[in-house]
């Protein structure tokens, strides 16, 4: 069994109502996409399609097919700020 730490930021943090939590993974080959789907089940208030949620593993952006390792830190990254809105 593996355990990963999940971090929530900005809108996801407010919607999930949590900044960080540990999540256990039972299957050996669980990938990032599967974890995100699971997270969206636990935190149904997160307003985003699981397929489109961007995440980083150990401070590096990863594709959804990336397989998780025990001890990974997974961060859910909402679209970053600024964009055309500010400058």
């Amino acid at each position: 069994m593996k355990e990963v730490t999940v971090l929530y930021f900005a809108s996801y943090r407010e919607q999930a109502g949590v900044m960080a939590e540990k999540i256990n993974i039972t299957s050996d080959n669980t990938n990032l996409g599967e974890l995100i789907k699971h997270i969206c089940t636990i935190h149904p208030k997160i307003v985003a399609e699981p397929d489109k949620i961007v995440a980083a593993i150990n401070e590096e952006y990863q594709e959804h097919n990336h397989v998780l390792k025990n001890g990974d830190t997974v961060a859910l990254i909402p679209p970053v700020s600024g964009g055309s809105h500010d400058y």
Binding site: E14, P78, G82
Partner: protein, 151 residues
């Protein structure tokens, strides 16, 4: 010549553009271009009271360093990037990028490039407080974290 060609800071303090410019300056340089990203008083027609920035700090710092390093490998420049977190009043800087170069063209190019890249990949978010509410501002179109991914 400074020992390192770039410097990155994430801070809750007011930004100091002169200090960033000083870092990016050298006696070899004829040009410096300094970008100031400033809190505006409106988004479209909505009146903004203040902005609040949140970051995934260690990753944001890493990403800013990657951008600065990439800039220094593409152009013969010195770079200072400062991003502010927390509450930022109207008219105050949230981002300062200073680029010093022997010639102006590379300074303009590199500074402009850096702002685009910062918006595409650095995990920093902005919450707009306006009259009657607040909202997280994200730019789903501008956010392209995996596009330039190396490795």
């Amino acid at each position: 010549m400074p020992s390192k060609k770039y410097r990155v800071r994430i801070t809750e303090d007011k930004l100091n553009p002169s200090d960033a410019t000083h870092f990016a300056s050298s006696e070899r340089h004829g040009a410096a271009v300094v970008f100031h990203g400033v809190t505006r008083d409106h988004t479209n027609s909505r009146k903004v009271i203040l902005l609040e920035y949140e970051a995934y700090v260690p990753m944001a710092k890493k990403k800013l360093e990657e951008i600065a390093k990439e800039m220094c490998s593409n152009w013969d420049i010195l770079v200072a990037i400062d991003h502010r977190l927390g509450k930022v009043d109207i008219g105050e800087e949230s981002l300062v990028v200073a680029v010093g170069s022997p010639h102006r063209q590379s300074a303009f190019e590199a500074a402009s490039y850096s702002v685009d890249r910062i918006k595409q990949t650095v995990p920093i978010w902005k919450k707009e407080h306006f009259e009657g509410g607040e909202v997280w501002i994200g730019d789903a179109d501008g956010f392209r974290p995996l596009e330039h991914k190396s490795g």
